[in-house]
Symmetry: C2
Subunit: 204 residues, 2 copies
DNA sequence: CACTGTGAATTCCTTCACAGCG
DNA sequence: CGCTGTGAAGGAATTCACAGTG
């Protein structure tokens, strides 16, 4: 295919595809057509074919996509073929839930450090990590971590982000309901539970 | 303005606007222009003007939008002017984090019941509610609750949803990484943390 | 005059329709 | 034949540009 800018929406769907292919693999299915994959994911078949074709021709005509090798391809496109270390900031209830969330490992994420500012939490174990004092946040740089998950109160989020900039963090998953000011080199994804819930009554 | 279908993306942004206007109100600002609001929200001014204009002419030319009355308008558009009761299914770590999440009240949400299937959790207090046995899920119908938040393991999610259909639930915020089969009358929003995190390394 | 409100233009994304291939 | 891969068509959302107004 000749040059095309890859739509952001396509990138957003790639992890969906990765999850689907991973699950198919555990089901010992070795190929899947765009039609059947579309059914699973509530998408249209041409959508899937076009999305995947941006990155190459992974499928076999007449058959479909080989599960195992396509999963591997997607993993390397998303740079999830190498373990991605992430730091978790905030060891409250939400932080603890995230630390023990089993779903990250399928994508190759590893929570490699946890920080909090509350003395009573520092030194306790959350998931597999011991909570460190936020003042030791430069550990993130030393450990060569480039991803952070923010599970702190909204009014603390920006000041934590400013620290993370200095630690060479490149991507943030922000769970606070607030807008973060970051350098252009940093990518932020914000998830705001209340906002997502806020659209539902409109449709009911 | 003549008839226009309102874009889904506009609906998705409305809670953002509501949050922004609510915050402006607590800051005692009484008007805001689309330019300044756009700066706060990292959007473009015409986007905001167009979004709001789908629902009417809330602004004052030469001045901007009146904070208090626009907030009220958005709240009623989203049907958040009346308290929306929600049931929380799953009282694990994630469920507990959600039960105590302070952000829901700004949007008028009230977690009115919590359910779990684990005997050790039933009867304990999480947030302001006592955890009920999932077998009592029909309480949802009796309490006239039409929203549910799903914080259960992925393999349990579909079976819970099937029960919720019978309870006349109309909207679900699903926090499990899975696709739910629901009747057309039901609206589902799924948030998959790992998937959101999965896009970040690509951009780094 | 400074801003909103809005048709028109543009950009972006999805879907179609079919050529091409195993 | 059945499915992928893909230009082209279509549709949706964003942005522009400016008329309209307090």
């Amino acid at each position: 295919m000749k040059y095309h800018k890859i739509p952001d929406e396509t990138i957003r769907r790639m992890p969906m595809y990765l999850r689907a292919f991973s699950m198919l693999k555990t089901e010992h299915q070795d190929t899947i057509s765009s039609i059947h994959l579309a059914e699973r994911l509530h998408l249209k078949p041409p959508q899937i074919r076009k999305d995947l074709s941006y990155f190459g021709a992974f499928g076999t005509r007449g058959i479909g996509y080989p599960v195992s090798s396509t999963a591997k391809q997607i993993r390397s496109i998303l740079k999830l073929n190498i373990t991605q270390k992430a730091a978790l900031i905030g060891a409250g209830r939400l932080g603890a839930a995230i630390a023990e969330y089993p779903g990250f490992s399928m994508f190759g994420f590893d929570i490699a450090a946890i920080f909090d500012n509350e003395p009573s939490k520092i030194g306790t174990k959350v998931g597999k990590n011991v909570v460190e004092d936020i003042s030791k946040i430069s550990m993130i740089r030393d450990l060569d971590i480039h991803l952070a998950i923010l599970a702190v109160p909204a009014d603390a989020a920006q000041s934590v982000v400013d620290m993370l900039v200095g630690c060479h963090v490149k991507g943030i998953l922000n769970l606070s309901p607030c807008y973060l000011v970051v350098p252009r080199s940093m990518k932020v994804v914000t998830i705001d539970l209340a906002m997502e819930l806020g659209t539902l009554p409109y449709y009911m």
